[in-house]
């Protein structure tokens, strides 16, 4: 396996050939904010938070899907990038109804963490106030579409790890939303195995365990990563 040498924020870093800029940065202890990225499942490059500047490239590239190359010079935290990231988070807050004080994930929410990280103390953009639904038809779980950021993590874990492909996208543009099976209530889904991986994967309070009240939501993200490794290496014991 070939090893590549690159610089990330001026720091010399070595990385394996197939690694992404995000993986190389994480190994080197450089933090790049992400939202749609989830360890263990495929990347889609949709949230645009991990965009980085690469010397000699006009375009900003998403670190999660950009492979390292020899001599690559990566900048992960310029003022311009931080501005864009803050605006992206503001856009998400303006798009749904993200009121942390009444959310099950309050204190355990990646969107909240990102807003704090970006220093977002107010939203400059107009709120959309969308009319979105809450689906509580499943015995154990629920989905509040108002808190969904459309990261598609639930779709990917369900498809790639559980193999059920219960979740999918419907609608376009601002009308995009996640659905179960043929856009039917989750509780009536024939394919859902009630494994709860989607709930574990969700970065916000959109997918939750029924009965949890404000601030109670906890997730075991490492479990998803463990499942993938276990399958790939056939090691099922810790």
């Amino acid at each position: 396996m070939t090893v590549k040498t690159l610089t990330i924020d001026g720091q010399l870093v070595s990385a394996r050939e197939e690694e992404t800029v995000l993986q190389a940065a994480q190994e080197a202890g450089v933090h790049i904010p992400t939202l749609c990225h989830l360890e263990g499942v495929g990347d889609v490059g949709a949230c645009r938070l991990c965009l980085v500047e690469i010397a000699g490239m006009n375009k900003l590239l998403p670190a999660c899907v950009t492979k390292v190359t020899e001599g690559m010079e990566v900048v992960t935290n310029s003022d311009r990038l931080q501005n864009y990231r803050r605006t992206i988070i503001e856009m998400l807050f303006a798009e749904g109804n993200h009121v942390c004080s009444v959310c099950v994930a309050n204190g355990n929410c990646e969107l909240q963490d990102l807003a704090i990280e970006m220093g977002m103390d107010h939203v400059r953009l107009a709120y959309h106030f969308p009319d979105r639904k809450v689906d509580l038809s499943h015995d154990r779980y629920g989905i509040d579409h108002n808190r969904c950021v459309l990261c598609t993590r639930c779709i990917r874990v369900c498809d790639e790890i559980e193999g059920a492909h219960t979740w999918d996208m419907a609608g376009r543009g601002t009308k995009s939303h996640v659905i179960t099976d043929l856009s039917q209530p989750w509780g009536t889904s024939q394919t859902c195995t009630s494994c709860g991986k989607c709930v574990n994967a969700c970065p916000t309070g959109a997918l939750f365990y029924q009965g949890s009240s404000v601030g109670e939501m906890k997730r075991d993200r490492a479990k998803l990563d463990f499942l993938v490794t276990a399958r790939e290496k056939q090691q099922w014991n810790f």
Binding site: Y84, A126, L150, G171
Partner: protein, 535 residues
Amino acid sequence: MELNELLEISRQERSQAKPIQIRCCTAAGCLSANSQAVKQQLEAVVKAEGWEQEVQVSGVGCMRLCCQGPLVEVERVGVETQEILYEKVTPEDAPAIIETLKGKESNLSVVKLDQPFFTSQMPIVLENSGKVDPERIQSYIATGGYQALYHVLRDLTSVEVVDTISRSGLRGRGGAGYPTGLKWATVAKAKGERKFVICNADEGDPGAFMDRSVLESDPHRVLEGMAIAGYAVGASQGYIYVRAEYPTAIKRLQTAINQAQRLGILGSQIFDSPFDFKIDIRIGAGAYVCGEETALMASIEGKRGVPHPRPPYPAESGLWGHPTLINNVETFANIAPIIRKGAEWFASIGTGKSKGTKVFALAGKILNTGLIEVPMGTSLREIVEKMGGGVPDGGTAKAVQTGGPSGGCIPASAFDTPVDYESLASLGSMMGSGGMIVMDQTTNMVDVARFFMEFCMDESCGKCIPCRVGTVQLHGLLTKISEGKASQADLKLLEELCDMVKNTSLCGLGQSAPNPVFSTLRYFHDEYLALLSAE
């Protein structure tokens, strides 16, 4: 099939041509103005008069001056070939047209063929448009059709074909202007057991109908270009991705594919060579984002039509992970003439970096709306004022919008700019696929920007946040400005968000969505300022 058989079809077709040809436009524009009924009536009158031996009535493709449709051309082949083009023909006019053939005068409205709209054109892509019957392969073969493909398969190596296209200087007509030869060479060199060729016929820009016209008027031309491309890059399967809103184009393409397959021009061992090439149609539901190549391929694969990050580029990993060549309809339509007449001939037309011609759909506040094909480097003034005849009722043109939602508005003060990829880009617009919308003094440029933003907002696939939410925010701000409720701070936010959406979106749709705002802000800043509230 051998060359002599091809030539025999061509010879037969020409020898059987009747001395009087009546061609009725049956492309989308004229069809919607009832040209099918005109054609049927003409046929009925010819039959009733017993003139079937002398007169041939046929349905043909676009005759360019769409605003005056339905158009009917009468040609007398003889010592001195005469052509008359009748405009706004109704079925009731059919007897009068036939009467003129007997020498009678008529008061039918005739289009002047010596006006700049026609004389300034240089048809390469459209050379057969309005001449051949798109539903008969013999009609195409009679113009020398498929001889380029025969020549390529029998006499040239794939490297030579790629080299010819490279030397011609042809650039992608889908809008971005990527060198076609370079793209072909990349796919040809890519490693893969299977390769694909895709024709992007998902034309969706508001006001654009070039690709539609080419497909409806001369479908075989596109098939021939695709087959040559398939040979050059080593692909044996092609797909035409065409939107469902183009039913006539789909029908004629399917007819054309069937006819070509029956003659052994498409399918297995084409022209008895070892080369196989099959073309299938894939019908898109009409999502604008599916014109973006990665979204288009996802749609062909049967997945949701959303883009994914590039690299990897289609040339390396395209349809089902195989190397794939994607070109636009007009690009493929340029291939056969380049092979036939040579790279040098093509490279001699146009400007330094933009070779050949470009087809534009001229629309908006202009006298002559329709389809034009001009050499690259023709000035906007010539197109708008001379060919287009200027703004009707004594108005003056204010701007031209080119490139659709991805392009921008060019002010009248820049009309002397030659039309080529670089010049348009330097003006903050782009060639795009070729929509050209003329606006007069009554047009409010903030409304124009808002219209295109609304289009992008509706057509965003919703996958990435800057495009999904950013276009909604931008549309909201533009609405606020046009309603006179916005402040300086809103204008500043508008500019900031435009920059952000352009630089952070995942695909071309989001990356170019702010362009109409940028260009109107650049040239018509006063109009924005005039609408700001006093506070």
